[in-house]
């Protein structure tokens, strides 16, 4: 549907790209990145609000790189919503229909459909849009963006100013819009939970470049670069060397500890790599509890050094007995209550091979310290 090829532009000192992205029909792509990574600039360039320096934007195989924004048939929901304060709710919603010269009957039908879908019946007669609540404004702005019947919708952090409950309701509405109306969505956000909840595909954008793109699981569990791993809050990163490439392409890794981890193309014995595991993927076992054979691999004795309580989970800061290496283990509150760990308790941890990721390392940075600094 929309294809972005080698797109680059600049705004002041900031350079975007070159970026390649492909969004299929009716799909949902989230672009996840920290503030200042160029997400909005990317959208503005695709929409024709900023001129590209290089590259092309294709919409259904038509080159739209140099055509005016109003001819691109892309709808846009910006972070601040940009409702028109001099127009009432209904005129705001119908603005696109009026200026795209939509048939009256069609726009009335779409209006009614959207009023149903977004629960807007009680708001449609409101005169002053500035008196709407945050969630109401979001729904009106979304209806305004959808009424012209776009095939592509660009969202720029639309829920960043909302409280958690309203945000979740609107996220579910967006999923309905994507699935029921068949609108393809390109959604940029810095909110990891939102990106993984909504995006069928997730692209990680850091410093103006797309660093990795893939399915939710690929991005979450198999980061391809250390930047991506760190941005996605991978706390447990180990600096290791490949000791052996096993017949099943797994790697035997060593440093202060030995690990068996998944392999990757081009892995050679003696190469330095980063291995990591998400804190919620670590299995913890009581010291004397019998365990099945599947947990014997990468099994270590450890001690609880600290316990940090968050809203819905706890993080156990543990130290491996054999080398004093620190690990963070995330446990849901219910599990924590059942297990009842306290500081100083002994336990066993299993870093299952299938939960580990590995990345070749070329620079000489201290991986362990940088990763643990993220949490503490």
């Amino acid at each position: 549907m929309i294809r972005i090829e080698q797109l680059s532009t600049s705004r002041g000192d900031f350079l975007l790209g070159p970026i390649d992205l492909d969004l299929c029909k009716s799909s949902y792509l989230t672009v996840l990145g920290p503030s200042g990574s160029g997400k909005t600039v990317l959208l503005e360039t695709c929409m024709g609000l900023l001129p590209p320096e290089t590259g092309r934007v294709w919409f259904d195989e038509v080159d739209i790189t140099n055509i005016a924004p109003e001819q691109r048939l892309i709808s846009y929901l910006p972070q601040d919503l940009a409702l028109f304060p001099h127009l009432d709710v209904k005129t705001n919603i119908l603005f696109g229909a009026r200026h795209r010269k939509l048939d009256q009957t069609l726009s009335e039908k779409r209006l009614n459909d959207l009023l149903d879908l977004l629960d807007l019946h009680n708001l449609i007669d409101r005169h002053d849009v500035t008196t709407l609540s945050g969630g109401e404004k979001q729904r009106v702005a979304l209806a305004r963006a959808l009424l012209p019947g776009p095939r592509l919708l660009f969202l720029d952090e639309p829920f960043s100013a909302l409280d958690a409950t309203i945000k979740r309701q609107l996220q579910l509405k967006l999923r309905e819009v994507n699935q029921q109306m068949g609108v393809s969505i390109l959604h940029v956000t810095h909110d990891q939970e939102e990106a993984f909840m909504l995006g069928e595909q997730v692209a990680i954008m850091i410093d103006g470049r797309v660093r990795q793109i893939g399915t939710r699981d690929q991005i979450y569990y198999q980061p391809k670069t250390l930047e991506v791993a760190r941005f996605l809050r991978n706390q447990n990163i180990f600096d290791m060397t490949i000791e052996e490439v096993l017949p099943d392409d797994s790697l035997r890794l060593s440093s202060d500890i030995s690990l068996t981890a998944p392999g990757f193309a081009g892995a050679v014995v003696g190469a330095r790599i980063a291995a990591g595991i998400r804190s919620e993927e670590i299995v913890i076992i009581r010291p004397n509890k019998p365990i099945g054979p599947e947990l014997h691999e990468n099994l270590f004795h450890a001690t609880v050094d600290d316990i940090l309580a968050f809203g819905g989970c706890h993080t156990l800061c543990i130290r491996l007995n054999e080398n004093n290496m620190n690990l963070d283990v995330e446990l849901p509150n219910c599990a924590m209550r059942d297990l009842g760990y306290e500081i100083g308790d002994a336990l066993q941890v299993c870093l299952r091979k299938r939960s580990l990721w590995t990345i070749p390392v070329e620079d000489s940075s201290n991986l362990l310290e940088e990763s643990h600094d993220l949490l503490r």
């Binding site: 005016a68 846009y76 200026h99």
Partner: protein, 259 residues
């Protein structure tokens, strides 16, 4: 608390002095003002022509200034272009130049090739309405540009961009979003520009002179009356000018309160 009171008094005292000073200026007219004389003066042809000329010239110069200032101010508020800072500074020139000097510059410009071409087309300045309008326009256009630029800058660019993506052309977005959102700023700019134009004296006298019934506006008629010690006429003209100015200032305040 005593410290708060001292602070309030420090701030309020200069305000009281200023208010007293301006009241003194306005009320000092009353010593020379008599209603029968005022009514008698109002029937005088020269006062009629001064009022008419002032109203026509101020309205025309305001209209021209606003028509040129709206796009210029928008361009300054929204676009980046080479020499923008220079243009911005140049437009501010009438703010810092005394109107007399500005009038001199206008007269000199009429001796350039451009001025001569315009003269050949019949656009002469001395002792003409065109001269009065051009002098007023030159002085007031900066006010319009400055006020409108601020007004456009306060409008969220994102609203214009969203309108474009909803099907508006750049002109459509300007017409349907920018202008309605800037309407109060535009109205305030029109009123203040008009108020400044009707009170303009220095540049008008330099460019168009003070021919009675031809180019003598309200301010230049006051000057003429005072120069021949015709106090009743001067007072009448001042009262008219003060009334018009106060009316305009109250109008602006009302508009700004609604913003």
């Amino acid at each position: 608390m005593p410290r708060d009171t001292a602070f309030k008094l420090t701030m309020l005292l200069p305000l009281v002095v200023l208010t007293a000073y301006f009241l003194l200026l306005v009320c000092s007219q009353s010593a020379f003002f008599s209603l029968p004389e005022f009514i008698r003066q109002l029937g005088h042809a020269n006062i009629h022509s001064a009022i008419t000329l002032s109203l026509i010239a101020a309205t025309a110069s305001t209209l021209i200034a606003i028509i040129l200032a709206i796009p210029s101010a928008y361009a300054l508020a929204r676009f980046d272009f080479p020499g923008k800072r220079l243009v911005d500074t140049l437009i501010d020139l009438p703010m810092v130049l005394t109107p007399i000097a500005l009038g001199t510059l206008i007269l000199m410009s009429w001796n350039t090739a451009v001025g001569r071409v315009l003269s050949d087309f019949g656009l002469t300045l001395p002792f003409t309405l065109a001269g009065v309008i051009l002098a007023q326009f030159t002085v007031v256009v900066t006010i319009s540009v400055r006020m409108l630029k601020t007004s456009f800058e306060q409008i969220d660019l994102r609203q214009e961009q969203v309108a474009r993506l909803l099907g508006c052309t750049a002109f459509g977005s300007f017409r349907h979003i920018t202008l309605p959102l800037a309407r109060r700023g535009i109205l305030a700019a029109i009123i203040l520009t008009w108020a400044r134009a009707i009170g303009e004296f220095g540049a008008t006298v330099m460019v168009a002179g003070t021919a009675k019934g031809q180019t003598a506006t309200l301010p230049s008629s006051i000057y003429l009356a005072m120069s021949v010690a015709d106090l009743p006429r001067a007072v009448t003209l001042v009262v008219i000018l003060i009334s018009l100015s106060l009316l305009v200032l109250f109008g602006v305040r009302k508009i700004l309160e609604k913003t």
